[in-house]
């Protein structure tokens, strides 16, 4: 059990914080690390210690996760999720409005990185963001034409209004 955890930990760490890791890909630079917290005596116990994450966005000083901005925290969390994914692929991933706090530069990097995972996993992405919609192979619109009752329709990008509303011709 210990060796299995240790092996996973080091793999995820490499996938997250390595030079070609997901943190640097999503932030377009910078550095990160995942550290096992030592106890008072400085000992680290693989099976018991807590896990601390340090992040250094490009051009900034290293800081704790809590000091990152809302968008930076989202990018760091997505980088961590995908680093775990790389270590233990799962057939699908569901992301529900993960891009809500991101500006467009980060949305573009987010979409690029997702594309590099498509050979092992399927992604289901719920979004209000036009750029993310463009990165999808297929779009489903969910409408409540009959109030309170959801219906699925297939939509093309040009049928999704700026306000997320589905154009009438897609519904019919």
């Amino acid at each position: 059990c210990r060796t299995r955890f240790e092996k996973t930990f080091h793999e995820v760490r490499e996938n997250f914080a390595g030079n070609n890791g997901l943190f640097r890909k999503l932030f377009g630079g910078g550095k990160a690390d995942i550290i096992m917290q030592a106890d008072e005596q400085g000992n680290v116990d693989m099976l018991d210690s807590g896990i601390e994450i340090m992040a250094k966005p490009p051009g900034k000083e290293p800081c704790r996760l809590s000091q990152l901005s809302g968008g930076e925290k989202t990018m760091a969390a997505v980088a961590m999720l995908l680093a775990i994914f790389k270590t233990r692929p799962s057939p699908y991933a569901i992301l529900d409005e993960v891009d809500a706090a991101l500006d467009e530069a980060n949305v573009e990097r987010f979409c690029d990185v997702i594309h590099s995972f498509l050979d092992t996993s399927h992604f289901i992405v719920i979004t209000h963001n036009k750029l993310t919609m463009q990165a999808c192979d297929l779009l489903y619109g969910i409408t409540m034409q009959e109030r309170g009752v959801s219906k699925r329709v297939s939509v093309r990008l040009d049928q999704v209004g700026a306000d997320g509303r589905i154009a009438q011709d897609a519904i019919d």
């Binding site: 210690s49 979004t127 489903y140």
Partner: protein
């Protein structure tokens, strides 16, 4: 192994039977606020065995059954089916320690039948399962010797609930065993719910360990 489609009927705001195929690698879901997008995520968590009503944003498990609208009466039951493609893996030497090796016990029997079904007379093989049979089945990601595997969960207004694999009743344990070691069903890292992205890292160092442990 791929996620093929999701079918919902009477689940939350999906009063009508609705099919959502997931053929291409990235599928986007769009629509105005409150139209039912996150209910799809809840449906996938529910069919894979989610036990906490709170984590499905409800008060009690009954809250997943369509409870009516201005123009419709409430439904009597909620039913969700998740279908996976489960093709033969070109001989990569990867053997799944499938259900075929399990000793005969109550419950998995129905799953056992799943294996034997395709070749008909195998149902006499019951006595044989006492001695683990050499697994001659072609290897697949899910330990079921079929090209598609459909997992279903149903809940009735009277409180009875059922799990089914390809139409046969099974128990939750069988669903969990079906997906063991495939990364499916554990929420820790394959589902990011709305508004919970930053929370994954906001948690304290002990909780972060859990994410790593799930992955190990």
């Amino acid at each position: 192994m791929r996620l093929a489609k999701l079918t919902l009927a009477g689940f939350k705001s999906f009063a009508n039977r609705t099919e959502i195929p997931f053929d291409p690698p990235i599928v986007g879901i769009v629509g105005p606020n409150g139209c039912g997008k996150s209910n799809i995520v809840d449906a996938i968590k529910w069919v894979l065995g989610e036990q906490s009503a709170k984590s499905l944003r409800g008060g009690a498990m009954m809250d997943v059954i369509f409870n009516g609208s201005a123009t419709r009466k409430p439904c009597g039951m909620a039913s969700v089916t998740l279908t996976f493609d489960n093709p033969v893996i070109k001989d990569n030497g990867y053997r799944v320690s499938g259900i075929g090796y399990r000793e005969e016990a109550d419950g998995p029997e129905s799953t056992q039948k799943l294996q034997a079904e395709p070749s008909g007379e195998a149902s006499d093989a019951k006595s044989e399962t006492r001695n683990p049979i050499p697994d001659t089945r072609p290897s697949r990601a899910l330990p079921v010797d079929l090209d598609t595997v459909a997992v279903t969960r149903q809940l009735f207004r009277d409180g009875t609930s059922e799990y089914l694999i390809n139409g046969r009743r099974v128990r939750l344990r069988d669903i969990r065993e079906l997906f063991m070691d495939t990364g499916i069903g554990t929420d820790a890292y394959s589902v990011i719910e709305q508004g919970k992205v930053a929370q994954m890292l906001d948690s304290n160092p002990e909780q972060r360990r859990v994410i790593f442990e799930e992955a190990a």
